[in-house]
């Protein structure tokens, strides 16, 4: 046995050497790439210690040998806050590879016009935990964003997160074991369809937050998704807005305007099948004078709901509220509206609910200390105009 040792050591040092080589070669290629280039990643698992970055380039494709065939592992990362970072480019395509165990976010793309993620997987291996990075696929301040056939696993914030962007399609993708499966935040003109969000804390979140550069999100369509069994205990580090998302959330709309949710199957999400809430319900302070904290024109129609006969799953104050004050027992409603209204717009209904299967409703009247909790949805039986389809320009 002993005589093998030198060979094993020799092999190990060669592997380590080759890896450092790979990292430097890839970073060099990313820096020296000419506009229009395709950079190919061969099959295999490569261990990297530093963020790989692509900056200021146009028409670049980063092409692996396949999801799970080319894996860039950042388990031993000592430098940089992302696995892969793309900034200030146009028409960038990321395709056919996996990013694993980044110390911070897996793939952040910022200020890119035309960004495609195709068959890209981001994951944190092992049990989901607070020490995992925040975001898997993370375009922010981008325009024309296409995410398709991707997979996001284990993010301590959101698996697929589109922030402060415009013209977005997220489709045929799968998000699981994240705190939030898919999140569209302060973003406009987004279509989220044909995705599966399962075993997250919350399946799909549509949020508008204060104090940001792109102030307003809106015109978000969520349709034809399978959103089920999102009952995973919340493992987000405290302080982050998603740390307040109750486990057992299917879809949560926070303070966003113009959201259309239709043709989804929303099943076995055992706290909020679909929640529609104002920012006040997060109990966080608002100091941004331009921020509008109420959801408006939310249209929930033609979805199929179903939940297990179990109690509300969420913990914390909201959990206590559901259990001890609202006393729904095992008959928790599917569509939950916090009932917080903008006093200056009295008489305008913030949401319409139509033609859903098996959807029970509650208005919590949270603004009045839950005095007039109402389970009557007839007031909200109204129609809103369908929202516009998201249209992308990804080519020159």
């Amino acid at each position: 046995m002993k005589h093998w040792l030198p060979f094993i050591l020799l092999f190990a040092t060669q592997v380590a050497f080759a890896q450092a080589d790979f990292q430097k070669k890839l970073q060099r290629q990313l820096i020296l790439a000419d506009d229009g280039d395709t950079i190919r990643l061969e099959a295999g698992t490569f261990f990297l210690t530093s963020t790989m970055s692509l900056e200021g380039k146009n028409d670049i494709t980063l092409l692996g040998a396949g999801k799970d065939r080319t894996t860039l592992s950042f388990k031993g990362q000592t430098e940089g806050a992302e696995g892969l970072r793309v900034s200030n480019g146009k028409r960038i395509v990321l395709e056919n590879f996996t990013i694993q165990d980044a110390k911070g976010d897996a793939i952040k793309t910022m200020n890119v016009e035309g960004i495609t993620f195709r068959r890209v997987k981001t994951e944190w291996t092992g049990e989901p935990k607070a020490e995992n990075g925040g975001y898997g696929l993370y375009p922010v301040l981008c325009q024309n964003v296409l995410i398709e056939e991707c997979e996001a696993i284990g993010a301590s914030d959101a698996g697929i997160y589109v922030g402060q962007s415009r013209h977005i399609i997220v489709r045929n993708s799968r998000a699981y074991h994240n705190v939030a499966g898919i999140e569209i935040e302060n973003s406009q003109m987004a279509d989220v369809y044909d995705n599966e969000a399962t075993e997250n804390t919350g399946g799909i979140l549509i949020f508008d937050l204060p104090d940001l550069e792109q102030k307003k999100g809106g015109n978000v369509r969520v349709f034809n998704n399978k959103i089920h069994h999102n009952n995973y205990p919340n493992f987000a580090p405290a302080g982050n807005i998603v740390a307040t998302v109750p486990q057992g959330t299917g879809i949560l709309v926070l303070a966003t305007n113009d959201v259309e949710i239709f043709d989804n199957t929303i099943t076995a999400n055992n706290s909020l099948g679909t929640g529609v809430i104002s920012y006040y319900t997060t109990e966080k302070p608002i100091k941004d004078p331009e921020y509008y904290p109420y959801p408006t024109r939310i249209y929930i129609h033609d979805n199929v709901y179903e939940r297990d006969r179990v109690r509300y799953q969420g913990k914390g104050r909201l959990g206590m509220l559901f259990r001890y004050k609202l006393r729904f027992g095992k008959k928790v409603p599917d569509i939950v509206f916090d009932g917080v209204l903008d006093d200056s717009r009295k008489g305008v209904l913030p949401l319409c609910i139509q033609n859903n299967q098996n959807a029970k409703f509650v208005n919590l009247d949270a603004a009045n200390d839950f005095k007039n909790v109402s389970r009557n949805a007839t007031l909200y039986n109204c129609t809103l105009d369908p929202l516009k389809k998201a249209a992308l320009t990804l080519n020159k």
Partner: protein, 352 residues
């Protein structure tokens, strides 16, 4: 033979261009980066001595960016006869053709300069017609030359600090993309340090010690300068006589954070703004909730909780050495203990 063909073509092209444009050194055409630092002829004598040639001006900042306790030598070369116009707020608007030169080094023993130093890297920012460009030169172990390296590198380094303690770390030198991670204003590459508030301080020029701005004015590098007393001055962060705790902490945050955390920086997506001129308490982080901090929040609720540094995310992130949580994200692997202590002191003084 085959290899020499591109060289031949290149020379032909150069000759062709020169025939039409006799003076292309003025930055009209971007020059190809030189392979070695010595080719630029910024220095006279042994390169490692870093003695500037005529026309290359040394300078210093009142409060510099922390770079893993590395020390820095700074120089600027401004085209002759093209002085920089004064402006009170921003980095000076250096003319095309300017080069900013910064050499990073560790002393062998910080208590005794005579024991020598180890030069690690020299970074250049060149102002070309198309904008600023960064180049990275890494020093050889013999300390005779620094070589162009686009992909950066890491090297172990050891030194004895000012308290006589042995220190060591794996020092990182940036790749060219990382340069723009910090040198970025509205997505354009830009210098960070040399604003008048940073330059408004004394420097030893060998024979004389003089205010740098006054010296620049006298030597024709700076024009339209108002009276010195009216010019803003960033306090030296570690000089208690130079300003209040607040002003020194804000100076430290300005140079260490504001290149990203300002309305024109890459961290504008966070809404946390730490530039010197910011006055809005929420943007400065007071009781501000994080946006995309992830585990960088350290389980804390607000960027700054007045009077409560241990509840403030800002403290957590500037103290952390975990790449997924630490701030700044780039350019340090260790914690700047003294700078962090100053920010702690400032947050403690804020009224609860």
């Amino acid at each position: 033979m085959i290899r020499s063909i591109p060289v031949f073509l290149f020379l032909t092209l150069v000759g062709f261009l020169c025939a039409f444009k006799s003076d292309w050194s003025a930055g009209v055409l971007p020059a190809a980066p030189k392979e070695t630092l010595s080719e630029y002829r910024f220095f006279t004598g042994a390169l490692a001595k870093q003695v500037p040639q005529d026309g290359v001006m040394p300078y210093a900042l009142n409060t510099p960016l922390f770079s893993d306790y590395a020390e820095k030598l700074r120089f600027v070369k401004i085209p002759v006869g093209q002085p920089v116009a004064y402006n009170s707020d921003n980095v000076l608007d250096f003319p095309v053709g300017t080069t900013l030169i910064k050499t990073f080094y560790y002393p062998v023993d910080a208590r005794d300069a005579a024991k020598g130093r180890r030069l690690m890297e020299t970074r250049l920012l060149l102002h070309e017609a198309s904008g600023w460009k960064a180049l990275e030169y890494i020093w050889n172990d013999e300390q005779t030359e620094a070589y162009l390296e686009v992909a950066g590198d890491t090297k172990p380094v050891a030194w004895i600090d000012a308290k006589g303690q042995s220190q060591s770390l794996v020092y990182s030198m940036p790749n060219l993309n990382q340069c723009k991670g910090c040198h970025n204003k509205n997505e354009k590459m830009t210098p960070i340090g040399p604003s008048v508030r940073q330059l408004n301080g004394e420097l030893n020029y060998g024979e004389t010690t003089e205010n740098q701005l006054a010296h620049w004015q006298e030597t024709g590098l700076l024009t339209s300068m108002p009276a010195l007393e009216t010019i803003p001055k960033l306090p030296k962060w570690n000089d208690a006589t130079a300003g209040t705790i607040e002003s020194r902490a804000r100076a430290w945050l300005d140079i260490n954070c504001a290149h990203c955390h300002s309305p024109s920086g890459p961290a504008r997506t966070s809404g946390l703004f730490l530039h010197w001129q910011e006055t809005d308490p929420t943007h400065l982080g007071v009781m501000k909730t994080p946006v995309a901090a992830g585990r960088g929040s350290g389980g804390r609720e607000y960027s700054i909780v007045p009077g409560e540094p241990d509840k403030s995310i800002l403290m957590y992130r500037i103290s952390s050495e975990d790449p997924g949580a630490m701030m700044p994200e780039l350019g340090r692997k260790t914690t700047h203990l003294e700078g962090v202590a100053l920010v702690r002191e400032w947050i403690e003084t804020l009224a609860r």
